[in-house]
């Protein structure tokens, strides 16, 4: 995208019918570090790659628990992500207070989307520069949604956002019907994993949203690499993390 005379204001349309400020906001999401989400009928898993500002600093938090039944992973401007997480937590707790029941995920994401849309139609505001993968459970089942700075939202079986997310998305698309979320999560992150640079969180039936401990994540990663080595020997090829053999060896236990 190149600079043009229609991109200063969010409230200015281009002749081609585009709102450039909104599209630029979505660029900010693409530049952020990766976040991946995957769901089965009973569980939803989120994973993020954590970047640190420098070797001396701590990693940025990209996964937030919103309520026992909902959590989000963000990519883009993490400050915007924190603010939106606070909003989501507020909506959930207000609903719980009045109705003594969890806010259905579908209704939560609509409120978030409507909030984002407001920023695309006010001259004194700017769009939120963060994309959110919303993972949650309600009476209708397990859900994974993606909320965009544009105010759009979509429900997904699996999705990835942030840098190098396309590789992850392709990987996930190829495996759309396979039933083992966690194994694919690790592969799909598409980078050399260690538990220190990635965060994994899960929510499921009988399992409130929680971030999996670093140790448990490391065990999963080790198990993945063992399997990958095993299948590499079998097929004799040069295996990369992203392109695991779909017909490969023993199923890994889900956590």
């Amino acid at each position: 995208m190149f600079r043009n005379q229609y991109d200063t204001d969010v409230t200015t349309w281009s002749p081609a019918g585009r709102l450039f400020q909104v599209e630029y906001a979505m660029e900010a999401v693409k530049q952020g570090s990766a976040a991946v989400g995957l769901r089965s009928r009973t569980h939803v898993v989120l994973a993020t790659v954590n970047k640190a500002a420098s070797d001396l600093s701590s990693h940025q938090r990209k996964v937030f628990k919103i309520d026992d039944h909902v959590g989000v992973a963000i990519a883009g401007l993490t400050a915007d992500g924190r603010v939106l997480s606070r909003y989501l937590r507020n909506e959930c707790i207000n609903h719980s207070f009045v109705y003594e029941a969890p806010l259905p995920v579908g209704r939560l994401v609509v409120r978030l989307a409507d909030k984002a849309q407001v920023c695309t139609q006010r001259s004194w505001k700017r769009p939120y520069g963060v994309g959110l993968l919303v993972a949650g459970l309600d009476e209708l089942g397990a859900h994974l949604y993606y909320n965009c700075p544009s105010g759009n939202y979509f429900e997904y079986q699996a999705f990835a956002i942030g840098s190098r997310s396309q590789a992850a998305k392709t990987y996930l698309e190829r495996r759309a019907d396979k039933g083992r979320p966690l194994r694919h999560q690790g592969d799909a992150a598409g980078e050399k994993l260690t538990s220190s640079i990635c965060t994994v969180a899960i929510v499921g039936i009988g399992e409130p949203f929680h971030i999996i401990s670093e140790q448990a994540v490391q065990e999963m990663v080790d198990a993945l690499e063992t399997r990958e080595e095993a299948t590499a020997e079998q097929s004799g090829g040069d295996m990369q993390d992203e392109s695991g053999n779909p017909d490969a060896a023993a199923p890994m236990e889900e956590i």
């Binding site: 207070f97 009045v98 109705y99 003594e100 029941a101 579908g106 209704r107 609509v110 309600d138």
Partner: protein, 235 residues
């Protein structure tokens, strides 16, 4: 902006005018059964004799009320709006009895805190996704759930019977018989009750409010014969 309360001094509920008496609710095999008479008393006068004190709320709940009838009608309007917005989402989610019970609790308690109560005792029952729910909210904002509940005189006369004879998984017929036993006691002993009752049922399939009917009463006790026997001249 000048509110009516500011101009008039204070406008709040002081006492009820047209009231309904007990409501009884029990869980049974397929769902919830509720019973109430159709009387609306104006003090000690039995002014209205065809008042429906139980209504269906949304897809999954039944609400029965005792106390001020006009306040019950107001609550029905609040719930109408609530259900309307819930339906407008059109997303497969719906408010179940638990949610409505809690919502009503919030409303009743908040009104009580402002010293302007809705003068009702509410029985909220329903079934959603196989889960049966039965609860009460009072005008003070007190709330609780149980397998069998009652309001007003029902607390004193019906609950002891229910505690003794209610059991898990009763059939529809057994449950109705139990309710009728309670209604009969209330008819004999509660001055504001009338012999015209409605039974309401809610199950996973849906809700039904049956047409009103009467119970057979017996007054032929020997003690009632010749009441002036020991008080000559009495009437």
């Amino acid at each position: 902006m000048a509110h009516d309360e500011d101009v008039a001094g204070s406008e709040r509920t002081l006492y009820p005018y047209v009231t309904g008496t007990s409501v009884i609710g029990i869980k049974y095999k397929d769902g919830i059964l509720m019973a109430a008479d159709t009387g609306g008393s104006y003090g000690s006068t039995l002014r209205y004799k065809s008042v429906e004190r139980m209504k269906v709320i949304g897809k999954h709940s039944l609400l029965g009320a005792s106390g001020e009838i006009s306040d019950f009608q107001e609550i029905l309007r609040y719930l109408d709006e609530l259900i309307l917005y819930d339906n407008m989402w059109d997303d497969g989610n719906s408010l179940g009895p638990k949610e409505i019970h809690n919502y009503l609790n919030r409303v009743m308690y908040n009104r009580r805190n402002k010293f302007n109560p809705l003068w009702n005792s509410l029985v909220l029952g329903g079934v959603k996704n196989g889960n049966k729910y039965l609860g009460v909210v009072t005008m003070l904002g007190a709330h609780y759930e149980d397998n069998h509940v009652a309001t007003g005189f029902g607390n004193h006369l019906a609950v002891p019977i229910l505690r003794s004879e209610w059991k898990e998984g009763m059939s529809f017929e057994e449950a109705v018989k139990l309710l009728e036993k309670c209604l009969l006691v209330l008819l004999y002993r509660d001055r504001s009750s009338i012999n015209k009752f409605q039974i309401a049922k809610i199950t996973e399939e849906g809700a039904t409010i049956y047409p009103a009917y009467s119970l057979k009463t017996f007054w032929g006790f020997s003690a009632f014969q010749n009441p002036g026997q020991f008080a000559e001249g009495t009437w």
